[in-house]
Structure formats: structure tokens, C-alpha cells
């Protein structure tokens, strides 16, 4: 356990150095390039959020994009109000909405927005979780229910044009001002803001997975019934991790809106939800760091390759995903872990051979019958 913690903290330290020093240096501190990379980092957070529910607790949430979307819309609503000043947001006028809908009013406040971006997804995630887990829904049914919820939720958002901007989403946003600092998303400082958020999210994830809470979740993942007989309220544990995961996804969504400067219902699409699952699977769902790295790697590749092979990229992504699921179900993290173990065994054997040469009757091997 302690060695595992040490290994994770070491990985976090290396990752932090790469993200904080390595990447900006490689990009030549170029604001535009770093903005693109900040997008990957924001997606890293939603990927690690999925790793918490899917990896630690075995709950495959195919509706992660919905909670991500809630966060992104919360932020977009605040920035839209800011851009509109005292006037009604433009799209409301086009949709004949006479005055600002009630649910928009509190988003004038940044504090409320930040809280809502975390708590609304957590609350909705918690409701769905309670609904499912009290009835002991598990396995593929969790995947199907969350998927159906996502489809319904996206439909609602598109349907309610007057409030959400419908198909177009929320565009024409003002820049965020945080404690008097007007955030320029093409500035190095913005990259550090997102990087800091990712590090904080990883730290939260590591804390959760290494606490007894994380242990109980792994126990539930393996055998929920057995865990009940030890007195644990399994539904509550599952609900709490679902809430935390949803809140982190909302957080990622808020950052994503900041990076792209708009919010769109495509963030809540089935294919986006699938993309999150792919990143998480490629990186390795057992580790929050690996899941975040998975998102960064896949998106980095997509950014580089999708210009070269426009249609081919999605094909390659599909093939890679199928191969990952088939041959390295634990992702890159699992692959590296296995290689590491194999190397260790090899060196152990060598050391054993060197340490006790007298006990090894050498000629036996050559003398064995074939």
C-alpha cells in the first residue's frame, strides 16, 4: 500500500513537472499553442472523473458528458450575462423571450456560478445514483440508464431554446474576470490556471483512491453483496463517488467553456460521452493520473493527425479503441505495470541466480531429455 502511494506520488510529481515546465517550454511559451494544450488538460479532468466512478467503483457512467455539459453551461451563462451587460442575451431576443428567465438571474454572480458548476452536476448525479443504487442496479444496466439519461438531457437542452440557446449553444461570451484579473485564454497564465486545476483534481482523486473510502469502493466493485455483510451501505458509497465524479466533470466543463469561449449541446452528445470513455480506457481506468494522461495523449494525437487524415482519424481512433479493449483492458497504465513487473521478475531471477550459484546444479539443464 505504501509503495503504491509512493509510486503514485512519484508519478504525480513527474507529471506535474512535465505539465508545468516541460510543455510550456516545448511550446516556446506560445499562447496559442498553450491554449490548445489547456483544452487537453481540461478534458483530462473529465477523464479522471470517469476513472473515479468506472475504475474505482466499477460503475460505467455513459452519461458523464451530461454533467460535463452542466458545468460548461453554468460558466457560459455567467459569461453570456457579462457580455450582454444590462441587455437581454441576444438569442433570447430571437426566441421572443420577454425577460431574463429566473434560473439565469443568479448567474450574474461569479461565486454562484462556480458553486453551481460543481454542485448542480453533483446534485443531479447524486439523484440518478440514488435512484439506481437504492434499487441495486449494477453492471450494464448502469451504463444503459446513464446513456438514456444523457440522450434525454441533451434533447431537453436543445428543446429549451429560449433558455439554453438550443442547437447553437451559448456563443459570444465575455472573458472571465477572476478577482480583478481579466482572464486572457491565449496567455500563459491561463494555461497555468487550467494546469493548476488538473493537478488539484488529480490530488483529490489520489486522496480518494488511497483512503479507506477508495478501498471500500474497490471491495464493492469486486463483490457488492459481500461488502453489505460487513455493514457498509453500498448504495451510499456508490452515490457519493458518483457525486464527486459528476462535480469534477462539471469543473472540467467550466474550464472547457473558458478555453473554447462557447458552450454547445454537442458537449452532451453520446459521441462525446464515448470519447471520454475512450480516453479513460486508453490511459487506464485504474489510475486517475493515467486516465488524465489518456485524455491528453488521445487529444494530442487527434490534434496532430486529424489535419492529416480528416476522416481517417476517427477510423483510427475506433480501431485503437477496439484494440485497447481487447488486448490491454487496463490501458497504458496496466501495460506499463505489467512490463514493470516482468522486468522486476527478470532481475529478481538474475539476482537469485547470482546469489546462490552453488545451489543450482548447472549440468541438469543440458542433461534434461528433450
Amino acid at each position: 500500500m505504501t509503495t503504491k502511494l509512493f509510486y503514485d506520488l512519484f508519478a504525480l510529481a513527474v507529471f506535474a513537472v512535465v505539465i508545468v515546465v516541460g510543455v510550456p517550454f516545448l511550446m516556446g511559451f506560445d499562447g496559442f499553442e498553450l491554449n490548445t494544450f489547456a483544452r487537453y488538460l481540461a478534458l483530462g479532468i473529465v477523464s479522471l472523473a470517469l476513472a473515479l466512478s468506472w475504475g474505482s467503483a466499477g460503475l460505467l457512467n455513459l452519461g458523464q458528458a451530461a454533467t460535463f455539459g452542466m458545468g460548461s453551461y453554468a460558466m457560459a451563462m455567467h459569461l453570456k450575462l457579462k457580455a450582454s451587460g444590462d441587455a437581454l442575451p441576444d438569442f433570447m431576443g430571437w426566441n421572443n423571450v420577454p425577460e431574463l428567465p429566473l434560473i439565469w438571474i443568479p448567474f450574474h454572480s461569479l461565486g454562484f456560478t462556480l458553486l453551481a458548476g460543481l454542485l448542480v452536476p453533483a446534485f443531479v448525479g447524486g439523484l440518478i445514483a440514488m435512484f439506481m443504487f437504492r434499487a441495486r442496479i449494477a453492471g450494464v444496466f448502469v451504463a444503459i440508464i446513464t446513456l438514456a439519461f444523457l440522450v434525454a438531457f441533451q434533447l431537453v437542452v436543445i428543446e429549451q431554446q429560449g433558455i439554453t440557446g438550443g442547437q447553437n449553444g451559448l456563443t459570444g461570451l465575455a472573458p472571465l474576470s477572476l478577482l480583478g484579473w481579466s482572464v486572457d485564454t491565449y496567455d500563459v497564465s491561463f494555461y497555468y490556471l487550467v494546469a493548476g486545476c488538473l493537478m488539484a483534481a488529480i490530488t483529490v482523486g489520489l486522496y480518494l483512491t488511497h483512503s479507506k473510502f477508495g478501498l471500500i469502493l474497490r471491495a464493492i466493485r469486486e463483490d457488492a453483496d459481500r461488502t453489505r455483510f460487513f455493514g457498509y451501505n453500498v448504495a451510499n458509497y456508490q452515490t457519493v463517488i458518483f457525486c464527486i465524479s459528476a462535480a469534477l466533470a462539471g469543473w472540467a466543463g467550466m474550464l472547457y467553456t473558458l478555453v473554447l469561449e462557447f458552450a454547445s449541446p454537442t458537449y452532451m452528445s453520446v459521441s462525446f460521452s464515448l470519447a471520454i470513455v475512450i480516453w479513460c480506457a486508453v490511459g487506464g481506468r485504474d489510475s486517475v493520473i493515467a486516465a488524465a494522461i489518456g485524455a491528453i495523449i488521445v487529444n494530442l494525437l487527434e490534434g496532430r493527425l486529424s489535419d492529416v487524415f480528416v476522416e481517417g482519424w476517427n477510423l483510427m481512433l475506433g480501431v485503437i479503441f477496439v484494440l485497447v479493449v481487447m488486448f490491454i483492458p487496463r490501458g497504458l497504465h496496466g501495460l506499463i505495470g505489467d512490463l514493470w513487473k516482468a522486468l522486476n521478475n527478470q532481475s529478481h531471477k538474475q539476482r537469485a541466480n547470482e546469489a546462490e550459484p552453488k545451489l543450482q546444479p548447472q549440468p541438469v539443464k543440458s542433461g534434461q531429455e528433450k
Binding site: A135, I137, V140, A143, F149, L155, E159, V325
Partner: protein, 289 residues
């Protein structure tokens, strides 16, 4: 009154399409517990196969059906052999793998056929409508309804009245013991998967005159078909049939009362609640797994 009758007919028409798509899915899910998210792409392949046969060989949809069935079934057979077979013991991973396969198939079609919408003509004999008072029923839709019932009956007979069906049921109940009696479970699974895929292909071919044929057409359909299967109950053909009528009619009804989008939302919400309270569906199979 006429509005209601027409809505009921629209609901039935939708139910028949759902049923055809869901049947293949229900058979695959019931037989091997595989949630095949590539099923929508099988439907799409069927639609494109029908388009290709009509465009390049001049086949009418009805003539093309057997060829479409064979073509999509062989794609399904290959996919089962190469990929799905390795994942039977990991149900959650089959969801992911088949999802990935779906993306691949979709992109392949996009690359080689193109992303634009393709048009397929309905058969001439079935053009026109039957009108009873204010109720207007298109002949083609009536044909699809009848055809879906025929496929339901054929599949039911295959599962219960043939040696293959008996072997399949034996494998579903206990794979090890069946293998001891010389039934090749692997074979049975491959054929079942291929059959389910072939049915999806037929469904795809039949809906070409009603839907636009585009590479992404399967994505929306698979979610609905899945809900039909889950609502109907694990692998129950009768359940799938009842559930498709239920969902088809409910969608038509809510669409009339509210609007299309809200109708769909209401149906999805209803289904979620139903799964919550009856996770084994309306017609759970009463054998222990």
C-alpha cells in the same frame, strides 16, 4: 378521431421498425449477454447494401433482401469471430468494443461511400395508400408491419422448433454441459450473432424509403432498440415485440400531445423508471442463469 387513428398507425409503423431492429439485438443479447452497440451500424450497412444493389444492379428492395441479409450476416460473423468471441467473459468490455466497431464501420462507409445522404426508391407495387375514412395508411408501411411480424414468427420458430434453436437454448443455459454433449458453443454463438446482424441488415434495407440513408443513421436507432430489448426483458422475443409496440405507440402518443422532442424525452424518462423498477424487463425469462 382521424388524428388519433393516424397516430396509432404511425405508432404501429414505428413499432414495426423498432421490432425488426430490436429482434436481432434481443437474440444476440439473450443468447450471449452481449450488448451490441454496433447493431445500429449493422442496420446502416443493410441500408447501404440495399442502396448499392438498387443503384448498381437495379434490384428492388424486396428482391435485394436475401442478399442484404447474407451480406450483413457475414460481416457480423467475421466481427464475432475476430473480436466479440474473445470478450464473452467481460460484458462491460463488449459494450465498449462493439461501440468501437460501430465507429469503425461508420467511418469506413463515410470514407468509401461518402457522407452525403443516399436515396433508395420504394418498390413500385407498394406505392400508394389505403384510405379508410380519414385514416390514411401507406402500403409500404403496412408491408413493413406485416413483414416484421413474419420475421418475428420465423425467429421464434428458429429458436423453439429447430435443432439449432434447441442447441442454442442448451448453450444459453449451461455452456460447459452442452459442450460435453458435443455441441460446439463457439459455432452456435457465431451463427447466432450472424443471424442477429442479418436481421439488422434487413431492417436497414426496409427502412431506406422511410429514413435518409446516411452513415450516422444507426446511432440514434440503436439506443431506441436497446431500450426495447431491456424493457422487453432479457432475450425474450415476445417481450421485444410487446415493448416495441408499447414504445412505438407511446412515442406517437406523446408526440401528438406534446411535440416530437418532448415526446421522446417523456418516453426515455418512462423507460428509465421502468428499468429501475423492473430491471429484468416486462417478460423476464424464468430460467436461472
Amino acid at each position: 378521431m382521424d388524428v388519433i387513428l393516424n397516430q396509432i398507425f404511425a405508432g404501429l409503423s414505428m413499432a414495426s421498425i423498432l421490432l425488426m431492429i430490436a429482434l436481432g439485438l434481443a437474440i444476440i443479447y439473450g443468447a450471449m449477454g452481449v450488448i451490441n452497440l454496433a447493431h445500429g451500424e449493422f442496420v446502416m450497412l443493410g441500408a447501404y447494401a440495399a442502396w448499392a444493389l438498387q443503384t448498381y444492379a437495379g434490384f428492388s428492395i424486396i428482391v435485394a433482401l436475401p442478399f442484404v441479409f447474407l451480406a450483413v450476416a457475414s460481416v457480423g460473423w467475421i466481427i464475432e469471430r475476430v473480436i466479440v468471441q474473445r470478450l464473452y467473459h467481460r460484458p462491460l468490455d463488449t459494450i465498449l468494443a462493439t461501440w468501437g466497431i460501430g465507429i469503425v464501420l461508420q467511418q469506413l462507409v463515410r470514407l468509401f461511400v461518402g457522407a452525403e445522404s443516399r436515396f433508395v426508391k420504394g418498390p413500385e407495387i407498394l406505392s400508394g395508400n389505403i384510405e379508410i375514412g380519414g385514416l390514411i395508411m401507406s402500403n409500404y408501411r403496412i408491408f413493413v408491419i406485416v413483414f416484421s411480424l413474419a420475421i418475428l414468427a420465423a425467429s421464434w420458430a428458429l429458436m423453439t422448433r429447430t435443432e439449432f434453436g434447441m442447441k442454442l437454448r442448451a448453450v444459453i443455459q449451461n455452456r460447459q454441459i452442452s459442450e460435453c454433449y458435443g455441441i460446439e458453443a463457439k459455432h452456435i454463438y457465431s451463427i447466432t450473432f450472424a443471424y442477429g446482424a442479418g436481421l439488422a441488415g434487413i431492417a436497414g434495407a426496409l427502412i431506406t424509403p422511410l429514413f435518409s440513408t446516411i452513415p450516422t443513421m444507426g446511432t440514434g436507432l440503436v439506443v431506441d432498440a436497446f431500450l426495447v430489448v431491456i424493457v422487453g426483458g432479457l432475450g425474450s422475443l415476445l417481450g421485444a415485440a410487446t415493448a416495441s409496440v408499447l414504445i412505438g405507440e407511446a412515442t406517437a402518443l406523446f408526440s401528438m400531445l406534446l411535440n416530437d422532442t418532448l415526446g421522446r424525452i417523456a418516453v426515455l424518462a418512462g423507460i428509465i423508471v421502468l428499468i429501475r423498477f423492473r430491471p429484468k424487463g416486462l417478460f423476464p425469462s424464468n430460467t436461472r442463469r
